[in-house]
Symmetry: C2
Subunit: 129 residues, 2 copies
């Protein structure tokens, strides 16, 4: 039996571009949730470490504390929003697999971000999109 190359087995119906992980990080010390400078540096380090490609970003600190940030990647995007008054972060890591599987990289970025915030209470959901 001949083995078909993988590309012949990808149909319009079955193509799934990649893994999207949604995380809610809870009961975090509010200090690193007030200003984006630390997490921005951390996320760009993760991008470099994992050979991802950033296309651009938006980061914004809110007047009363808390920030929102999105980094657009050729592989899709990272997004973070914080509520220091509730010790809460929502984090999205969505990496497509155009050239290679990035699933383990997505999980690694989530894991290291949880460690960055020294967070012990979190929810994770994984979606193959």
């Amino acid at each position: 039996m001949q083995t078909l190359p993988l590309s012949d087995n990808i149909s319009v119906e079955s193509y799934t571009p990649g893994l999207h992980i949604l995380a809610e990080l809870k009961n975090i010390n509010p200090d690193p949730l007030i200003d984006f400078s630390g997490i921005k540096k951390f996320l760009y380090h993760q991008i470099e470490l994992n050979s991802l490609t950033a296309l651009g970003e938006v980061f914004h600190n809110f007047e009363n504390g808390g920030y929102t940030g999105v980094i657009c990647l050729t592989e899709s995007h990272l997004a973070i929003h914080t509520w220091p008054e509730f010790g809460l972060v929502t984090l999205d890591v969505y990496l497509s697999n155009y050239r290679k599987s990035n699933d383990e990289i997505a999980r690694s970025i989530i894991k290291h971000t949880i460690e960055f915030f020294n967070c012990s209470q979190y929810n994770l959901k994984e979606f193959k999109r």
Copy 2:
């Protein structure tokens, strides 16, 4: 029995910032998936129509067709990625409810984007984060 004001019933444990809808739109005519100019105008019209506040954006057309775009909002973010070769779009609409409930606005933006692409085959998942 006295009715407590809503704010007294929100604890650190129970606070859920808003609704995130993940959509996969399939079998779309590839033409509007190649260049972001049409969808960018459409999304900013939705933002204005629904009195949301944009903080910034990243849009990028890929050399071989297809684009990626993220608009950062005070209410969280919109994100779109396209694969014209597969007639595929993944769309995220995540709106927090800091000042008022934006759940119906999130659903309305999804609905109108599906109509924009004249798409009849799609998956939607809703998450209260």
